[in-house]
């Protein structure tokens, strides 16, 4: 599960989690990203030829996600507010059964009814490269908090470029955006 305050970069982070699978030829599906930035997705490294979007599933978002889990390897769902126990369990079970990955994007961790295997929260972020009237958005330094169940239980903190200047995410030392900041 990926959470964060609006505008802090949770959407970029969630999409970034799909990049590895997408690059290796896996199909990805996005449910409920109502206004998708396709160019940014390509810049992040997603293969548009193997990316399907259901931007406005309305009330059928859980059904759309469950159907996608049947046929694609990674499904990203933006939860429409608090998710009920039935829908949450159905999707978690379907993902396990199909050996697909489910990434849930929500405003708060409490929006998802079950404890996810891993929760990544964008706790803070700063854009660099832009001043008052000069420069342009070059990259965003984001602070992440990662918690999980079982062996991943202890919280760890990381700082990453989300995205870096080229549009893809990068570990902090590999980015170039910081130089002009």
């Amino acid at each position: 599960m990926v959470t964060g305050a609006p505008g802090a970069g949770a959407t970029t982070l969630a999409l970034t989690l799909l990049v590895g699978a997408s690059r290796s030829g896996s199909w990805c599906g996005l449910v409920g990203l109502a206004d998708p930035g396709v160019v940014a997705m390509a810049e992040l490294g997603l293969d548009l030829l193997r990316l399907a979007l259901v931007p406005a599933p309305g009330g059928a978002w859980a059904e759309a996600a469950a159907t996608l889990l049947d046929g694609v390897d990674v499904v990203l769902v933006r939860a429409p507010g608090r998710v009920g126990l039935t829908a949450g369990r159905l999707l978690s079970a379907r993902a396990k059964e199909r050996k697909s990955a489910l990434v849930v994007l929500g405003a708060r961790a409490a929006d998802w009814p079950e404890a996810p295997d891993l929760t990544v929260t964008v706790t803070g972020s700063t854009w660099v490269g832009i001043g008052t009237g000069h420069g342009h958005l070059r990259g965003r330094r984001a602070e992440l908090s990662v918690t999980g169940r079982r062996s991943a239980g202890r919280e760890t903190r990381h700082t990453v470029w989300l995205p870096a200047a080229a549009g893809a995410a990068a570990p902090l030392d590999a980015g170039h955006a910081g130089r002009s900041a």
Binding site: A5, P6, G7, A8, G9, A10, T11, T12, G25, S26, W27, L33, A34, D35, P36, G37, V38, V39, A40, M41, A42, E43, L44, L48, L49, R50, L51, A52, L53, V54, P55, A56, P57, A60, E63, A64, T67, L68, D70, G71, V72, D73, G124, S125, T126, W127, I130, G131, T132, G133, H134, G135, H136, L137, G139, R140, P163, A165, A166, G167
Partner: protein
């Protein structure tokens, strides 16, 4: 089980020496598609479509079947040239088309009972079952389920469920090569290989995904499942398009518009991950709360200090860059736009566009 209409054209079931049958059948499919877009070609000369939706629209099942029959007869020039059947599930619908009947809901097992076991399309069962005195689907259906599973295995058990009218679909009822061939004939797919756009060819995963997306479209509508394709243009909304999955332009084999043309006014990456399908009106004001404008020379009248989106509360601007001018000729109207990147004090970043003195939020960098 979905209620299906099946059409079977006996003259077109196999390809003759002159090879005219696929093209003739394609014309039949086009005629049927005029009633409903969800036509599935199951094999050469045979296609199916959902019964419920179109029946409601065309005045009931009987009336819908009659209209279909007339439309196909017109194409083939022969009223006897098509069998139309309606039944629950694909297997029963295909047989109903062969015998040209409408099977009432819930009467599937009774309809199937007299057919010989050979119609299951399982050569081993067609030989073995009659030796055991089981000649018809009805007799087969009467065998105890666990005996069928134990004696003949899982596939026979699936056939058994179909014979009992419990399930409607069987492996092997469809010939996917026919659907591909018709689409090629129709010019929807290039003639080389149907998946030329995928580097390294098409994988099982591609086929699985395609099937899933088509199923999702059946439930939510064709426009609900889209793919993104890059195109030329300056603004984030113009640089990419969302196309329904399966539409001609969305086919990976259709040549992509080369991206990377020198578009003046295009913003450098990273691009916004949220591009609003409908831009939202915004107000941009300076330190003295006066509206900020883009001047005729493409400069801002003052430094933006605060912005409000959709009439909401004003938020302080922490940093900004622009304006990036963009002048597009769109039909005959000359549009003059300028874009502004804004970072709010809250940390979020927005892309604003100004046109004729009005600001709007075009995109956000979440």
């Amino acid at each position: 089980m979905e209620r299906l209409v099946a059409l079977s054209c006996p003259q077109l079931l196999s390809e003759g020496e002159r090879g005219e049958e696929p093209r003739a059948f394609l014309e039949v499919v086009h005629a049927v598609e005029a009633f409903c877009p969800w036509v599935e070609t199951t094999s050469l000369g045979v296609c199916t479509l959902p019964a419920r939706g179109p029946s409601r629209f065309f005045g009931g099942e009987a009336s819908f079947v009659a209209q279909l029959r007339v439309a196909v007869a017109e194409v083939l020039g022969d009223e006897e040239a098509v069998g139309v059947g309606v039944a629950d599930g694909l297997f029963a619908a295909l047989l109903a088309a062969r015998s040209d009947e409408v099977v009432a809901p819930g009467e599937t097992a009774g309809f199937l009972a007299p057919w010989p076991v050979g119609v299951l399309g399982r050569p081993d069962l067609a030989v073995t079952l009659p030796r055991l005195g089981v000649h018809t689907l009805g007799q087969f259906a009467a065998l105890p389920t666990r005996h069928v599973l134990a004696r003949f295995g899982a596939d026979a058990a699936a056939c058994h469920r179909v014979a009992r009218g419990e399930e409607g679909d069987l492996v092997g009822l469809r010939d996917p090569a026919v659907a591909r061939r018709l689409r090629r004939l129709d010019g929807e797919l290039p003639d080389v290989t149907p998946q030329a756009g995928f580097f390294g060819g098409v994988s099982d995963a591609d086929v699985r995904a395609a099937r899933t997306l088509a199923r999702l479209q059946e439930r939510l509508g064709p426009e609900a499942v889209v793919v993104g394709r890059l195109s030329g243009g300056r603004g984030p909304a113009e640089r990419a398009r969302l196309l329904p999955w399966g539409s001609r332009d969305a086919d990976p084999a259709s040549a992509p518009v080369p991206d990377g043309a020198p578009w003046p006014g295009r913003l450098p990456p990273p691009s916004p991950v949220t591009v609003l399908l409908r831009p939202r009106p915004a107000e941009v004001v300076d330190r003295a709360d006066r509206p900020v404008r883009v001047t005729g020379r493409g400069l801002l009248s003052a430094s933006p200090q605060r912005i409000s989106v959709d009439g909401g509360p004003f938020a302080d601007v922490g940093a900004w860059a622009g304006p990036y001018p963009a002048t597009d000729r769109w039909w005959s109207t000359r549009r003059r736009q300028a874009r502004l990147q804004v970072v709010l004090d809250s940390g979020g970043a927005l892309l604003l566009a100004a046109e004729r003195g009005h600001w709007s939020v075009e995109a956000a960098y979440d």
